[in-house]
């Protein structure tokens, strides 16, 4: 049994069992996490807000419920919440100065669901401002460091959540993924992250970046933990008209460990010059491991992959330009001093938004402008359809598609900040999945010579979360990778 100081290292599945058997209390578990947070946060900066008191109150309430029996699986489990989720009464900044003082009067649907299950919220995690970025360096409140190497980025935009799980500050966390914002940081930090099918999880109360691409998902230490969390998050929400009414499967039950006969598509466009050889070697080795377990690999092609980044940066920025228009200093958030209304808008937005957010608002505004709409936005929507069809065709011959999550492992802080285009390429393997609305799982496939985690992406057909979780879990169980706990 774990010592009290190491309870924070538990998986959700194990902790839930121990809580149920009354071997540990949620209060003990929560204290262990809060102690760990206090110890490593000065070096890591994974959290923007730590809600000590509320967490302990929630833990006490969870303990009462556990004692009474019949508590849901996430009852009493300490989680981190990306600061993009509206949390009633707790600051929700989206890592932006413009929302620096914003305290929502309501909960996001998934927050309300977790609350109802009795989950414990340790705090709000760091991110790129408005989820725009691949390194969490665009946070207005300073970057998050990678627990495996503090001189490197944690990935982004959900870098705080990934780092906090990797550093055992919490047992699981919520992220959001618009172009890779769960999968890339999961890969950089060596944890599991899943972006579900678009519409699988409610977006209500999730501060919008790009509405047709944003999707909620969990970070966890194991595929099983991710499956447990997803089961609680997914499902219909009358407050989100784009949310699917499809029944939610029992995801953990799908983890049979069996991949015999599974057809794994390997797209040639995802193994290209420019990616780090160690990354390719690691994913190729994982594919061999799958073959050894009875799966079949099939070479496939996703011919429109080359257009994905251009398409994404038109669609996402166009939607963002409208989504972020509401931050104007009139009703909530930051307000700059100004003489008249126009100046109020201009000064508030000039002072409140960071450089990358402004860049994307301008890009999106341009793409939607009269005279350019057809050439940019409309064209991008057509390309999006082609990319979706690539996947539809591919899934006629395979069950899952396996690729690297990112072309390289975690880069140095500051390395790409002055070169947005290179930064955008960090998402080259994840973006198409959002454009096509598919589920994608990131799991560790190994480490490079610097002991930095490498991530493998398992992509599924729409609503095939069970299949990709089963594939990821089987690989995890095979023992092909020995996970390394960050030294810190």
């Amino acid at each position: 049994m774990a010592s009290p100081s190491e309870l924070n290292r538990l998986t959700i599945a194990n902790a839930a069992t121990m809580l149920r058997k009354r071997e540990i209390s949620s209060t003990e578990l929560t204290r262990a996490c809060l102690d760990r947070i206090a110890a490593v946060e000065p070096r890591l900066h994974a959290f923007l807000t730590v809600t000590n008191e509320q967490a302990l109150e929630q833990a006490a309430a969870a303990d009462r419920r556990l004692k009474a029996g019949d508590a849901p699986e996430l009852c009493g489990i300490p989680l981190g919440i990306k600061d993009i989720y509206a949390t009633k009464g707790v600051a929700t900044t989206c890592a932006s100065k413009i929302l620096g003082n914003f305290i929502p009067p309501f909960d996001a649907t998934v927050i309300a669901k977790l609350r109802a299950e009795g989950a414990v919220f340790a705090g709000k995690t760091n991110m790129d401002e408005f989820a725009m970025g691949s390194s969490t360096e665009n946070s207005a409140f300073g970057p998050t460091m990678n627990p495996h190497d503090l001189s490197r980025v944690a990935g982004g935009s959900s870098g705080g959540s990934a780092a906090a799980v990797a550093a055992d500050e919490i047992l699981g966390a919520l992220g959001t993924d618009t172009g890779g914002s769960i999968r890339e940081p999961a890969s950089f930090c060596g944890v599991v992250g899943i972006k579900p099918t678009y519409s699988r999880v409610s977006r209500y109360g999730v501060i919008a970046f790009a509405s047709s691409l944003d999707q909620v998902g969990p970070f966890a230490k194991t595929v099983r933990d991710a499956a447990i969390m997803l089961r609680s998050l997914a499902g219909h929400d009358p407050r989100d008209s784009t949310c699917s009414a499809r029944a939610v499967p029992d995801y953990p039950r799908a983890l049979s460990g069996d991949v015999k006969g599974l057809r794994i598509g390997v797209p040639k466009e995802y193994f290209v010059a420019g990616m780090e050889p160690e990354v390719e070697r690691s994913v190729r080795a994982a594919l061999k491991q799958y073959e050894a377990m009875g799966a079949k690999t099939i070479d496939i092609s996703l011919p429109h992959t080359a257009y994905a980044i251009a398409c994404y940066y038109l669609v996402a920025t166009a939607e963002a330009s409208a989504n972020l228009a509401r931050y104007d200093g009139i009703r909530y958030g930051m307000r700059a001093a100004a003489e008249d209304t126009i100046a109020l808008y201009e000064m508030t937005r000039a002072q409140g938004f960071g450089a990358e957010v402004k860049r994307r608002i301008i890009l999106g505004t341009f793409a939607l402008s009269a005279g350019y709409y057809d050439a940019y936005y409309l064209k991008a929507m057509k390309v999006r359809t082609l990319i979706r069809r690539d996947f539809e065709r591919a899934f006629e011959t395979c069950d899952v598609i396996v690729t690297p999550v990112a072309p390289a492992t975690a880069f140095k802080l500051g390395e790409k900040m002055n070169d947005p285009l290179t930064m955008y390429l960090s998402d080259i393997f994840t973006i198409s999945v959002n454009l096509a609305g598919l589920p994608g799982l990131a799991i560790p496939s190994g480490y490079d010579t610097n002991n930095l985690p490498i991530g493998m992406q398992i992509i599924g057909a729409p609503f095939a979360e069970e299949t990709i979780l089963r594939a990821g879990d089987a690989f995890e169980r095979s023992g092909a990778v020995t996970l390394k706990r960050p030294a810190l």
Partner: protein, 478 residues
């Protein structure tokens, strides 16, 4: 200057609130007149992370309006975001419909003199959300978001109107339809029925359209007419003096009764429309359209035609009686027991509408039940009471709400047609006025009225005047 050489070409854009209990995309109340920011929630305040959910009732009312205006109902339409920054617009974009509105085409028929009708074609009807309201004070501007996200439809006409009178007739007809089908209360003064006008002029007979101006801030029918008259005159004067009409937006100034151009900054917008990713396409299945069609009430134009045909009413009377559904319903409640429905029409148009106007109450509250008024008029037809007695009884019934029969009995208003009693009274009057009798018989016919008056007085005012006339004529002749 020859104004007659020109004709005006006018199109109207009407925005009207739909009568729903809750807002277009959230559950807040639409009730008018609440305290500032009492009908708001995170959704209609544009809080971070909120999402719109379409109110189904709005779709039903929009489709109902489309059917009433003979539109084509789109089986699939799209919501779009219309972006512009304004403090009363919480998201700084309005959710509207751009390329694919819920209703396309259609027309409204307006009366064009003596029962004839003129078709005013529609371009479209689409659904959109309203904005809040800015309130400017000495040192601050305040925003009330109660109206934010209240459902609107915008009804856009083709430029088929040719005069201020046409525009007024169109607006009256449209409002009447909207009230008939219970889509809108059509209250302009509460801002629930608003109108923008597009006006241009051209030489009579010209095929091409002139350059148009758009006039905003028109919050009464009277202002619409005045603004059109002003703007048509202004444009003709510009053209006649060799100038060019600029395509611009004008504001109506109700105090100075003139239109003046808005500063270009106030309207030079690129709205950057794009499909709203937070809402799926709006699907209106044929079965839903049919269900709404089946539940449609009779519309004002049909009712007008029926009144002219079945009741023999004139176009004007039919128009007044059908303008409001409650008036027409009341009228039809008065007619059943009557031989001549025109007396019911006259009564409703004079007595009933007068009282309703004076009290400011709906007809159902303002006056006695239609059946009781019908009973009164039936008694007049049967010569049981006089028309004056009916008016007296009606006035009493306004307060007492007793039945017509009880009121007539109580007030002793029943008319005496008993020839014996009247003949006796005639004899007595003639006997008492030998001098007048001699004058009458000597050729002063005008004295007949005097004798009638004396007999009526003797009968306490309750005698049937026709019977008095007949008997007196015989007796005076000797």
């Amino acid at each position: 200057m020859n104004h007659d050489a020109y004709e005006a070409v006018i199109g109207l854009e009407v925005h009207t609130h739909l009568m729903t209990k809750s807002k277009l995309f959230c559950g807040c109340s639409t009730e008018f007149g609440r305290g500032p920011n009492e009908n708001v929630c995170p959704v209609c305040m544009g809080m971070p992370g909120v999402l719109p959910v379409l109110n189904r009732r709005v779709v039903e009312l929009a489709v109902r309006t489309g059917l009433a205006a003979h539109c084509e109902i789109a089986p699939r339409s799209i919501f779009d975001r219309k972006s512009y920054f304004y403090p009363d617009l919480p998201k700084n974009y309005q959710i509207s419909q751009y390329e694919t509105p819920v209703c396309k085409g259609g027309y409204i028929e307006i009366p064009a003199g003596d029962g004839a009708a003129k078709k005013i074609r529609l371009v479209r009807i689409h659904i959109e959300e309203d904005a809040g309201k800015n309130i400017h004070e000495a040192n601050a501007s305040l925003v009330d978001f109660n109206r934010s996200c209240v459902p609107l439809i915008e009804i856009v006409s083709e430029p088929d109107l040719r005069s201020a009178a046409d525009a007024s007739a169109y607006l009256h007809e449209l409002r009447s339809i909207l009230r008939y089908i219970e889509a809108s209360d059509g209250r302009m003064e509460e801002g629930s029925f608003r109108c923008d006008v597009n006006v241009s002029v051209r030489k009579r007979g010209a095929a091409e359209l002139g350059v148009k101006t758009e006039i905003k801030n028109l919050n009464s029918f009277r202002f619409v007419e005045k603004a059109i008259d002003y703007e048509v005159k202004r444009q003709i004067e510009v053209l006649e003096s060799g100038g060019r009409v600029m395509q611009e937006t004008h504001l109506w100034d109700p105090v100075r009764e003139e239109t003046r151009p808005m500063r270009s900054k106030e309207f030079a917008n690129d709205y950057r429309y794009f499909p709203e990713p937070d809402l799926p396409p709006l699907i209106v299945p044929p079965a839903m359209v049919e269900e709404i069609r089946r539940a449609m009430p009779e519309l004002p134009a049909d009712r007008r035609a029926r009144y002219i045909r079945d009741f023999g009413l004139g176009a004007y009377e039919a128009g007044v009686l059908t303008a409001e559904r409650e008036t027409a319903d009341y009228f039809e409640g008065v007619t059943p027991g009557l031989k001549n429905p025109k007396s019911a029409a006259n009564w409703v148009m004079t007595e009933v509408l007068r009282v309703a106007n004076e009290t400011g109450k709906p007809i159902a509250e303002a006056v006695p039940a239609a059946a009781e008024v019908g009973a009164l008029l039936a008694m007049v037809e049967a010569q049981k009471i006089s028309l004056n007695a009916a008016k007296t009884a009606f006035a009493a019934m306004l307060k007492s709400r007793k039945s017509a029969e009880a009121t007539i009995a109580e007030l002793g208003l029943a008319q005496v047609s008993d020839t014996g009693a009247i003949a006796a009274a005639c004899d007595a009057v003639i006997a008492a006025e030998p001098a007048k009798l001699a004058e009458y018989r000597g050729g002063r016919d005008k004295l007949f009225g005097f004798f009638v008056g004396q007999v009526m007085k003797a009968m306490g005012g309750k005698a049937n005047p026709k019977v008095i006339n007949d008997i007196l004529k015989q007796k005076l002749a000797g």
